[in-house]
Symmetry: C4
Subunit: 204 residues, 4 copies
């Protein structure tokens, strides 16, 4: 089953990002799409670096319900938003990294602009460091439905083509398969780290 | 025995935090509660990342004595203070991290305020990034009895509900089980790292 | 076969630098020389930390063509430039590190000067920390032929004796064998990290 | 043989500090004392993280000669100086860390003062964070005999009781056994990292 294989790849991705410290203290959540109706999301409250396939729950993409009755991640609505907006989205990764958390607070407006980095090309469709890459930044909210609605209504699909930052919270990114979602995560995290370091030095 | 299982979990936690470099040069000390009268504390002078169950000593929660005659950690009195104040405390972790050491020196008053971070929710009972989280900061002291007395008399139980910082020294945190103490440690260390990075950049 | 052994050493070097996070999100590329006509280059789009020998393609040093028809790394022309300029070059490593990316942006001119570091001696031929070591810095370019031409025409061989930086992009370095290329990479990365930290503090 | 056991411990310490990146690009050198006349020093040009016992050479403490004819580390004279000054010295570790390299350049005078850190107690004989700990800092020199002479003549034994910094070069520290040398190294490196971070923030 294709879905089975994707879940195995997602579990491997969780182990990888957990080892990097990008989902500390049970933070973060991850998912893969099954088909147009269902996706599989990590269960709440578990250490994301040591998940197994049984720690993922089937969730309805249309209404965030979980047939099993178990509790999916608190941020389920942000995953299903991506799956509803992008039929090609197959995997969503939401992480809590120090760089994403702090950089999103330093950005005062609603987007982070990245320019002049070769690594911008790690994002699908990007071909030059000369382009000004835009990553949306949304104010954090404990009301995930309201937050998902705000992201949906205030942003074009093009703006969300790789992912978005939640201020003081973390990064959500996605891909057409787990491998691409993972490359987007690693590429964006690299760019965030560079940008923090550059801002620290260039302003002087 | 429940106590046996907790000790095994504590040894695993020590290995984990040792690998992260949070107890360098034999620094730090860790304990689990046995019951209302006794807890088990790490022995002095050992590398905390490679402890085994036999490196822990039984210590009286009431008066810090160790029946075995072996020397428990120098900071025994801070562990037993937590166990006396909080009947629900089952594990205490005291670490020496670079971020806790430096941030506690940067804070000039007697508390560190953290606000605007999603990861505040990694601490028991916290439900929003909008709250202003307070972590007490005490001046360091080589007289542990005097320090324990100062912490006890100058602080409400509510202030100590997750732990406290010792200036230029480190973090002490606790949990209702080893897993929660570990989550509190990882969450607080993440917040400290974010806060140091944010202060470095936002003041500019 | 000598070439076989070099490829095995290169694969080990890739694993080593991948583990250090110096080739994130499939970035970076690596090669070894076979003889005066051919070298072997890493294939495009693969995670450089988990390459095997079969992920390397034979490429013509004279004209960058690959007999196999498979696609070598986008930056093939920078590897073959080194092999054409330096008959003694046996291995070329091109990495994307945070320090190389950011430091190359901070340097406004066309060279980075490093002085006062004992670790300058990690570079072939260097014998004193008193010397002013020069590493060329070139503006990044998506046209690799034009970039290779610009590097070739604007720089003496002496300037390129260890490698060069591409602004906002990364470091390319080489050695008379894989071991030396690896030492040059590790030594330069150490110097870049020191220099970023020193600049952050000394300007204050 | 006691000396055999010490060498095995030293090899383990080299592996440990190599994994931490404290001896990059074949930098650094380590030794253990055999008796009043001889010590064993790491051979020049090798990766210090993967040394075996056969990579150490017997060297005369009195005159730095190596009976085997093999080349000991370039900085042999700094190791033997410690063994001549301190009969109780059993192991010497010289490392190239980023923090030691940069902090020694930031210190303009001939000593680094560390105060207010609990971790000062990781150094033999230290009992309070209130003391002002002094670590000597010497200008680097490629003439090791001259450097050793300068250290010897300009410094009291008390000043050298844990080790010293070479400006832009690294840290040399020692212990009454390998375990203590290792604890001194880990404690000092922790303090250097804290001090760099504190200076970055407190001056603002």
């Amino acid at each position: 089953m294709t879905q089975q294989l994707q879940l195995a790849e997602l579990v491997a991705a969780c182990r990888w990002l957990g080892a990097k410290g990008w989902a500390p203290a049970t933070g973060g959540n991850m998912s893969v799409r099954q088909d147009t109706q269902w996706c599989w999301l990590s269960e709440s409250g578990k250490d994301k670096g040591s998940l197994t396939e049984s720690d993922f729950l089937q969730v309805s993409i249309a209404d965030n319900t979980a047939p099993s009755g178990r509790t999916p991640s608190a941020e389920t609505g942000l995953h299903t938003l991506i799956y509803r907006l992008f039929p090609e989205a197959q995997a969503v990764l939401h992480v809590h990294t120090v760089n994403a958390t702090v950089l999103s607070r330093l950005v005062k407006g609603n987007r982070l602009t990245l320019q002049g980095y070769e690594m911008q090309k790690s994002l699908r469709g990007q071909s030059s460091h000369l382009d000004a890459l835009q990553i949306p930044v949304f104010d954090n909210d404990q009301d995930i439905s309201a937050l998902a609605q705000r992201i949906h209504s205030g942003t074009s699909k093009e703006d969300l083509q790789w992912g978005f930052l939640l201020r003081g919270h973390g990064l959500t990114c996605w891909g057409r398969n787990v491998e691409e979602a993972r490359r987007h995560l690693e590429g964006l995290e690299f760019l965030f780290e560079c940008e923090i370091l550059r801002r620290r030095l260039e302003v002087l």
